[in-house]
C-alpha cells in the first residue's frame, strides 16, 4: 500500500501491508500471502483429505514444515505408539507428508518437538514474515516481529492449496510494560497479569504489540512466552518489535539468512518497529515494578491473581457473567474464597509446553531445584519443548539436576499441556503447570490446573504448596546474586 507509507504505521500494519496479494474491496477481505506454514498431526489430516478430493497439490512445500507433537508419548519413544488412534493420526501425517512432498520431523528426529519451539530454533521464524499453523499458540512466533496466528483446519487446507488467506485487517492494541521486573518475576507473570487485566475476551479482533522497557529487557525465550499466551486474552496475534536481541538470536541458525541476504534482511527488519506517532486502536499499561509472581485460581487464564493473595470471593465480583463463571470455577477447582493461595497443596508439577519449555525455562527451573528434593507425594515432570532443547539441557547437565531432585525427565512434546497423549492428570488431581490453559479437564478429565511460571513451578515442587522463590530464602539470594 503506497499511500499508507506516508502516514506513521504500527509494526502489525507494516507486516500486513507487505503481504497484500490483493486488497479487498466492497467489504471483501484482503488476500494475504503466508511466508511460513507449520503443520502438526492433529489439525491437518482433514485438510490433506480435502486437497486429495479436489485434486489439488500443495502450492509451496518449500514454505511448509511438519512435526509430531500433540499425540506423541514422552517415554519409550522408540516403541510403537500404544494408543491406536494416536498412532493412526501420526501415521496419517507421515503418509500425507510423503505424498505431498512436505518436510517432516518425526518422533526420534533431532528436530522433532513442539511446533512452536521447532520453528524458531531452526531460524525459520524471523521478523516481518507471516506465519500460520493449525494451532492457536502460533502467536508465539510474533516474538520475532512476525505476524503469526492460529487457524482452523479449513484454513490449513486453504494455505496448503494457495499459500494465502483471505483476511480482514486486525485492530491494534499496544500493551506497554514499563519498569524492571523484580528477581523471581518473569515473562510468564507479565502475560498472566495482562490477561487478568484485559480478560479472556479483551483482545478479540486485535493484534497485541508488547512494548516498553520491561519487554525490551526480555530474552527471545521470554518474549515467546508472552506472545504465546496472546490467544488467552482472545487476541489472534501478539508481536514484539525486532531489535538486536532478535538479530543475535537468529544469526547462525540453520535457516536464517546468510551473507548479503542477512544484510538485506537486517536492513529491512530495522524498518519494522512502530513509527513515532502511529496510532493504536487501544492501549493498556502495566507497571513491571509492581508485578509479583502470579497464579491462576480458576478455569480460564484470566482468573489469576498475585500468589501472595487469597482465593477471591465471587460475591465481590460486579459483572454477573464473571461472577457466575467464578462460582463455577471454584466449584470445579474445589477451592473456597479467602484461602491464601500459598496454602493450596498440589499433587503434580508440570514443567513444559509451548509456553515454557525452552532452554532458558529449563535453566530457570533447575536454578531453583538444584541440590534440593521434591516434596513428598508430588509428581514432577520436566518435558523439553524439542529434541534439540533436550540435547542442549543434557549437555549442560540439567537432566542430572532434575533427576537428583526427583523429577521425571522426558522426551519432547506437548505432553501434559493437553489431555491428548499418555501424560494426563487423574480426576481430582491438582497441578501447578507452566502451560497456558487451565480450562476444565484440559490436563486430563477432572484435573485441576494452576498456571504458573517455571520459577513458581520449581518452588511449588519443593514445598508441595503453591510457592514462589520468594518463599525460599536461599533461592532469593541466588536470584539476586545473578
Amino acid at each position: 500500500m503506497t499511500a499508507s507509507s506516508e502516514r506513521p504505521r504500527t509494526l502489525a500494519e507494516k507486516v500486513w501491508d507487505d503481504h497484500l496479494v490483493k486488497q479487498g474491496e466492497d467489504g471483501t477481505p484482503d488476500l494475504i500471502y503466508i511466508d511460513l506454514h507449520l503443520v502438526h498431526e492433529v489439525t491437518s489430516p482433514q485438510a490433506f483429505d480435502g486437497l486429495r478430493l479436489a485434486g489439488r497439490p500443495v502450492r509451496r512445500p518449500d514454505l511448509t514444515i511438519a512435526t509430531e507433537d500433540h499425540n506423541t508419548p514422552t517415554l519409550d519413544i522408540d516403541k510403537p505408539i500404544a494408543d491406536l488412534t494416536s498412532r493412526t493420526q501420526i501415521e496419517t501425517l507421515r503418509r500425507n507428508a510423503a505424498e505431498f512432498g512436505i518436510r517432516l520431523h518425526s518422533l526420534g528426529d533431532k528436530e522433532q518437538g513442539i511446533v512452536h519451539v521447532v520453528g524458531p530454533q531452526l531460524g525459520l521464524t524471523m521478523p516481518g514474515i507471516t506465519v500460520v499453523c493449525g494451532d492457536s499458540h502460533t502467536s508465539t512466533h510474533g516474538a520475532f516481529g512476525a505476524m503469526a496466528f492460529g487457524i482452523g483446519t479449513s484454513e490449513v487446507e486453504h494455505v496448503l492449496a494457495t499459500q494465502t488467506l483471505p483476511l480482514k485487517p486486525f485492530k491494534t492494541m499496544a500493551i506497554t510494560v514499563e519498569g524492571t521486573l523484580r528477581p523471581g518475576v518473569t515473562a510468564k507473570d507479565i502475560i498472566l497479569a495482562v490477561i487478568a487485566k484485559i480478560g479472556t475476551g479483551g483482545g478479540q479482533g486485535y493484534v497485541l504489540e508488547y512494548r516498553g522497557s520491561a519487554i525490551r529487557a526480555l530474552s527471545m525465550d521470554g518474549r515467546m512466552t508472552i506472545c504465546n499466551m496472546s490467544i488467552e486474552a482472545g487476541a489472534r496475534a501478539g508481536m514484539v518489535a525486532p531489535d538486536e536481541t532478535t538479530f543475535a538470536y537468529l544469526k547462525g541458525r540453520a535457516h536464517a539468512p546468510e551473507g548479503d541476504d542477512w544484510d538485506a534482511a537486517v536492513e529491512y527488519w530495522k524498518t519494522l518497529p512502530t513509527d513515532e506517532g502511529a496510532e493504536f486502536d487501544a492501549e493498556v499499561f502495566i507497571d513491571a515494578d509492581a508485578l509479583e509472581p502470579f497464579v491462576t485460581w480458576g478455569t480460564n487464564p484470566g482468573q489469576g491473581v498475585s500468589l501472595s493473595e487469597t482465593v477471591p470471593d465471587p460475591a465481590a465480583i460486579d459483572d454477573q457473567h464473571e461472577r457466575a463463571a467464578a462460582e463455577r470455577a471454584l466449584e470445579y477447582m474445589d477451592l473456597r474464597p479467602g484461602v491464601p493461595l500459598k496454602e493450596i497443596k498440589v499433587d503434580a508439577v508440570f514443567m513444559g509446553s509451548c509456553t515454557n519449555s525452552r532452554i532458558e525455562d529449563l535453566r530457570a527451573f533447575a536454578s531453583i531445584v538444584a541440590g534440593k528434593q521434591k516434596a513428598d507425594g508430588v509428581r514432577v515432570m520436566v518435558v523439553p519443548g524439542s529434541a534439540r532443547v533436550r540435547l542442549e539441557a543434557e549437555a549442560e547437565g540439567l537432566d542430572k539436576v532434575f533427576e537428583a531432585f526427583g523429577a521425571e525427565w522426558r522426551f519432547a512434546g506437548c505432553s501434559m499441556c493437553l489431555g491428548m497423549n499418555p501424560d494426563q492428570l487423574a480426576p481430582g488431581e491438582r497441578c501447578a503447570s507452566t502451560s497456558n490453559r487451565n480450562f476444565e479437564g484440559r490436563q486430563g478429565k477432572g484435573g485441576r490446573t494452576h498456571l504458573v511460571s517455571p520459577l513458581v513451578a520449581a518452588a511449588t515442587a519443593i514445598r508441595g504448596t503453591l510457592s514462589s522463590p520468594w518463599d525460599l530464602e536461599q533461592a532469593v539470594t541466588e536470584a539476586e546474586a545473578k
Binding site: Q46, R56, G123, G134, G152
Partner: protein, 205 residues
Amino acid sequence: MEKISTVTGVAVPLRRSNVDTDQIIPAVFLKRVTKTGFDDALFHGWRQDPDFILNQPAYQDARVLVAGPDFGTGSSREHAVWALRDFGFQVVISSRFGDIFRGNAGKQGLLAALVAYEDIERIWEVVEAAPGMPVTVDLVERTVSAGELTVPFEIDDYTRWRLLEGLDDIGLTLREEEAIAEFEQHRAAWRPTTLPIREPAEAGN
C-alpha cells in the same frame, strides 16, 4: 458447502459464558482423522451430568444454540464446529465469539450470529418458558425470531454472502492465481524456505 438462508428449529438456552473449545470438544476426541462423527464428543464433559441441558428430552432435535458471551474461545480446533454441526446445530448465537471459532464456523456452514447480550437474555427467557419451541434465524434479514420476539443479529457481509451462496473459499482464492504468482515473483531472497533442509552454521543459542 450448502447454501443457508433461514434456519428454523429447536433452540437450546446455554446459560454459560466463556465456553472454550476444550469444553465444546475435549482433546481426546481430536485424534480422529475424519471430519464427521463427532456428535457424541460434543460437550462431552458436561454431558456426563444428566441435568445438563442437552440431555433433556425437549432439546434432542436442537438446531440453534443460544450461549452466553465469549463462546468458542481458546484452542483453534475446527473439531468444535464439526461436533456442533454433527449434533445438528446449524446456528450458534452469542454476544461475543472467539475469533478463530467464528472463522471456522463460517468456513463450515455453521452460522455464528452475534446478538446483543440484552437480546440473548430475552431469547433465553422466551425459549425457557416453552422448552423445545422453535426459533427462526433469517440470514437474509439478519434476525432471530422466537414467538413474538424478533431481534437483530450481526454477521460480516462477506461471510453472510458466502453462506447465502454456499461458496467455497479455496475456489474463490484460486481465481486470484495470477496475483499470487506475481506476488511470489517479488518475494525477497532472505525470506524463509523450509527446503532444501539446511544445518546450522554453528550450534544455536
